[in-house]
Symmetry: C2
Subunit: 160 residues, 2 copies
């Protein structure tokens, strides 16, 4: 089998990417499971709702900001609904589409879990990087993202 399918520089970066992309979520999932019985995907849904006006988002918007397909999001939200942390609201005369709303219990979960999660992210991703490396990583990933999602239809929006 021809091993030169990526050049040496790409191969090195690709292998590091594959390893980190597998290991980092596993680390964060372990922390979130331990602290709240949450997967990382479920946590991101709660966090994105906690940042929204009225703690509420249209399901299609939530899929975009949580980087999840509609079908995966439906599954995630259904499980969060079972736990009483999210409720779904059907469209009304005033607004189109189906909405997911963070409940008070869901808000409390985010408030309780967020600090530990921030620490886990800092420890796993940023603690060993200099500011310059953090910027270089962000720059390179932003370039890749621009190519993967040129219309910004799937992009996590800037806060605010």
């Amino acid at each position: 089998m021809d091993r030169a399918w990526l050049d040496e520089r790409q191969q090195r970066t690709w292998r590091a990417w594959l390893a980190v992309a597998e290991l980092l979520p596993r680390t964060l999932d372990a922390q979130l499971q331990r602290d709240a019985g949450l997967s990382h995907a479920a946590y991101v849904v709660l966090a994105m709702l906690s940042e929204a006006p009225d703690r509420s988002r249209r399901m299609s918007d939530l899929a975009r900001v949580a980087n999840q397909s509609q079908s995966r999001l439906s599954h995630t939200v259904a499980r969060l609904e079972d736990r009483g942390w999210v409720r779904r609201e059907r469209a009304t005369e005033d607004r189109r589409g189906n909405f997911a709303v963070l409940t008070d219990a869901g808000w409390d979960v985010v408030a309780r879990v967020a600090p530990g999660h921030a620490t886990a992210v800092r420890e796993a991703m940023f603690a060993a990087l200099t500011d310059e490396q953090t910027d270089a990583l962000g720059d390179a990933l932003s370039v890749v993202l621009e190519r993967l999602d040129p219309d910004h239809t799937l992009r996590v929006p800037e806060p605010g």
Copy 2:
């Protein structure tokens, strides 16, 4: 909710990471599903076997080089076995542990799929990056990996 849980620089890099980590596998999965009905995880297992001496690896080694947990790997290998692309061999007097072996049909799948996959990886990850950005990305990810896996127990080994 306090939004300052990561500083601004970390926040930017983290959001780019989350988006790329979600979108890139989705892009590559789509290509592999289309070309061979394979998930990325299953492709990596086949590729790692194709590079091994005798196209064979101990299951525990395969889990490490494919960055998969033992239970996830067992599931992946079972499905590849159903398709006739991998077979499992029990330990013998000469060697301990259970082995996964790439069959001739599995080898043909890798040979057929690898060029298109390489193109997809280059297009999705590297086409928009300069050599310097590719190196910077690899450097930063290697630092993160060193922290996540200091003993190299889970690390994908260098080729060769």
